[in-house]
Amino acid sequence: MAKHVGYFPELKRNWWLKNRYFTLYMVREATVLPLVFFIACLLAGLYSLLQGQQSFQGWLQFMQNPITIVINLLALVASLFHAATFFTLFPRVMPLRVGGKAIPAKWIILGQWFGVLLVMVLFAWVFGRGV
């Protein structure tokens, strides 16, 4: 076993401020904070729908509050930043092979962004139907 006679500084809790790469990692991890806010909005909306018309109007008003809009705008930016990081990590965690040949990471990343776009179109179709 090691005889730790030397100097061994403890890692301080602000370690992620000392290196740009670590700071970016913490930003990636923090993308979930505005996400939690958006999910809370949705849960509130769901229960307002159960309580009736008036309650739902109140929820819509809350969603129109400038502070709510700003946090949700932040959530949108966070979700896209998360997507950018997540999509590049995916082909490294699960390298896909077709017929023994590896699919280039670039294609997998592009495919995932295509998925984001497809869901946007789906939402536009669902909300736009019959209006």
Partner: protein, 122 residues
């Protein structure tokens, strides 16, 4: 020395939920935020797009259940996993406690969303 180290971690369960939630956060959530939290509240789409009756019809249906799964439940597990590990990174609290609170919250609020859905379709 080896014996005390061989405990299998239950992390694969949480990691699988985190990963599934991560895909949903990246693929489904951007559109959900854009439409529900930005375009409609800002009045950039017609007011009827999300009126009371239409919203009920959309949410309390089979596609609505899928919506709850991919925009509420799975992203919740994703978020709570990152918050738990973030607390460890910042050396805040005990990981064992943080783990119970974080995943406990994800489970409770997911069940609450599903309960809301069941009440809605009844």
């Amino acid at each position: 020395m080896m014996e005390k180290r061989v405990k299998r971690s239950d992390e694969p369960i949480w990691w699988a939920l985190f990963s599934a939630g991560g895909v949903c956060f990246a693929v489904f959530v951007p559109a959900a935020i854009l439409f529900i939290a930005l375009l409609i509240p800002l009045g950039l789409l017609p007011a009827e797009t999300l009126d009371f009756e239409r919203s009920r019809g959309l949410l309390f249906s089979f596609p609505g259940l899928i919506f709850i799964g991919v925009v509420i439940c799975l992203p919740l597990f994703h978020a709570m996993h990152r918050i738990r590990h973030g607390l460890h990174d910042l050396k805040l609290g005990r990981d064992k406690t943080n783990k119970v609170i974080a995943y406990g919250a994800a489970i409770v609020f997911s069940l609450l969303a599903l309960l809301g859905f069941v009440l809605g379709i009844m």
